[in-house]
Amino acid sequence: MDALLELLEKNARLTTAEMGERLGKTATEVEAMLAKLDTDGALLGFHAVIDRDKVGDVLVSALIEVKLTPERDGGFDRLARRIAKFDQVTSCYLMSGGYDLAVIVEGPDLREVAQFVSEKLSTLDGVVSTATHFQLKVYKQSGFLATDTHEDERLPVTP
């Protein structure tokens, strides 16, 4: 199962037959493994990792540090789940350290992201403070380098 997950994390576009060839399994076996992962809820989804600069996209992304007041029953969970449900929020993590939630917010421009923070996020009951950091440039995301220039420079035949 670990071998299949490792493969999916790198490239989820392979057919089950192709995955089988790499894992020494039949396509049917791979399908069964995928079905099991699905039933377990282990696969949240699949997505492309896009270098936004290359496609001329002007999407704005920000990391918001959020401080919360924990609740008597459930701590941060209720509020964190509520924040995570907003479409603008692409990721949301509970953190150790100086703040509680790291919230990644995406929007078409600066104004919309700022508006989301000031109108939706910071006005929620239980949100003590927010600090917004806009992303300036991507060097690596989801394990992929933005400019990976490693060329195969090996001699064509070596002992």
Partner: protein
């Protein structure tokens, strides 16, 4: 003036040109070749290792080191070898850092063989074994291993070659070019032969991390080095390096672990011919041994997936290929197509632009097979396999 050809030493003249070299020149002249003919990883050395080399240069560490190599590196090697092979070597007196395993093997031959001494080695094998022995004025005695035996070296075949001039047995498992691994029962018998006939054993362990065991090769199998068998440490020279498992071929760094008397003898030559291995490579190697295990395992798993892909495709196209237990080579048997290894490789190159190495480049025992290296990016590997399938369909 004498013709320049006559100035070349007799024993050098007698060494034939490498078959690999001939093939390399053919491949180099062509465009758009997908090469499965490479004998090194396609990964760059892991970044943390490269970064350590850069850092050492920034700090101005550009001097000679001790002839034996940096003590800090030898200590790391000693720990690593104990963990990997279960054999203890003293970092101060039994470890010698060399410029690749190639230099270490050359040192072994020159330091420990007298003219006319015989060395038993197994074919097909890495191309430098025979010449390294010959350049030390010793006699290379090849034992042929067979595709039918999955290129396992039979102790009885070794025994048949032992004479009163035999001094040494040279082993390499997992093997380049076949990917073969040696069952421990045979290894034990070979160890007994070495003890009975008072022979030294040289074991080239360069591929020992790259093993494919358990479920579809995804598990790291267990590797047993002959050095770890009872009574063998005192008669074994263990050679290893960073090129394959750590993807550090260009760093040119290897080492030998051997009893102090043998290490001293090898060091004598090393100090005059090489002085020491490059310090930036040695610094990088310290980082590799301290923090590289995770990356090595990641690369091993990537090779395992490609190996599965290659074996599954060969099976589909009806090319017999035994399941290699290690390294990153497959050695398919192409005899059923009625071509020699060379003809097969040449026509595959000319007709489909895919390079594999003819098996006979690794000794006559490799005839009838070709070496396909799967240390190649997936997309290229898949195209190469499609092309090979097209090719064999026409044969």
């Amino acid at each position: 003036m004498k013709p320049l050809e006559d100035r070349i030493a007799d024993h050098v003249k007698q060494i034939p040109r490498s078959g690999i070299r001939d093939f390399f020149e053919l491949v180099q002249g062509r465009d758009d070749v997908i090469s499965l003919g490479v004998g090194e990883p396609d990964f760059a050395a892991p970044w943390h290792i490269r970064e350590a080399a850069i850092f050492s240069l920034e700090k101005g560490q550009t001097s000679y080191t001790s002839n034996l190599g940096l003590l800090s590196l030898r200590e790391c090697i000693s720990d690593y070898v104990e963990g990997q092979f279960g054999v203890c070597y003293d970092a101060k007196s039994e470890v010698l850092v060399t410029v690749g395993v190639s230099e270490a093997l050359d040192l072994v031959c020159r330091a420990l063989l007298n003219p006319g001494d015989e060395v038993i080695y197994h074919e097909p094998c890495y191309v430098s074994y025979n010449p390294s022995i010959a350049l030390a004025y010793a006699v290379a005695v090849g034992v042929q291993t067979k595709v039918e035996d999955e290129f396992v070296l039979k102790a009885e075949d070794v025994a048949a070659k032992i004479t009163d001039k035999t001094r040494m047995i040279l082993l390499n498992f997992p093997t380049n070019p076949t990917g073969a691994v040696e069952p421990v029962e045979e290894l034990e018998k070979i160890a007994q032969l070495a003890i009975d006939h008072d022979l030294l054993v040289v074991t080239d362990e360069i591929y020992s991390e790259l093993l494919y065991g358990g479920d579809s090769g995804m598990d790291r199998g267990e590797h047993i080095s002959i050095a770890s068998l009872p009574g063998m440490k005192q008669r074994t020279i263990l050679l290893h390096g960073f090129s394959k498992a750590f993807a550090m071929t260009g760093f040119r760094l290897g080492y030998s672990c051997a009893p102090n008397e043998l290490t001293e003898a090898m060091m004598k030559i090393h100090q005059y011919s090489m002085l020491c291995a490059p310090i930036m490579s040695q610094n990088a190697a310290v980082e590799a041994l301290k923090n590289g295990a995770g990356e090595v395992e990641k690369m091993r798993r990537a090779y395992a997936r490609r190996r599965n892909l290659l074996l599954s495709r060969f099976e589909h196209m009806g090319v017999p290929c035994f399941s290699p237990g290690g390294a990153f080579y497959a050695f398919p048997d192409i005899r059923k197509f009625g071509l020699t290894s060379k003809e097969f490789a040449l026509r595959l190159l000319e007709e489909e632009n895919v390079a594999v190495v003819p098996g006979d480049a690794f000794g006559s025992a490799g005839e009838g097979c070709v070496r396909a290296c799967y240390a190649t990016a997936y997309d290229k590997l898949e195209i190469a396999l499609d092309r090979i399938a097209n090719f064999v369909k026409r044969l």
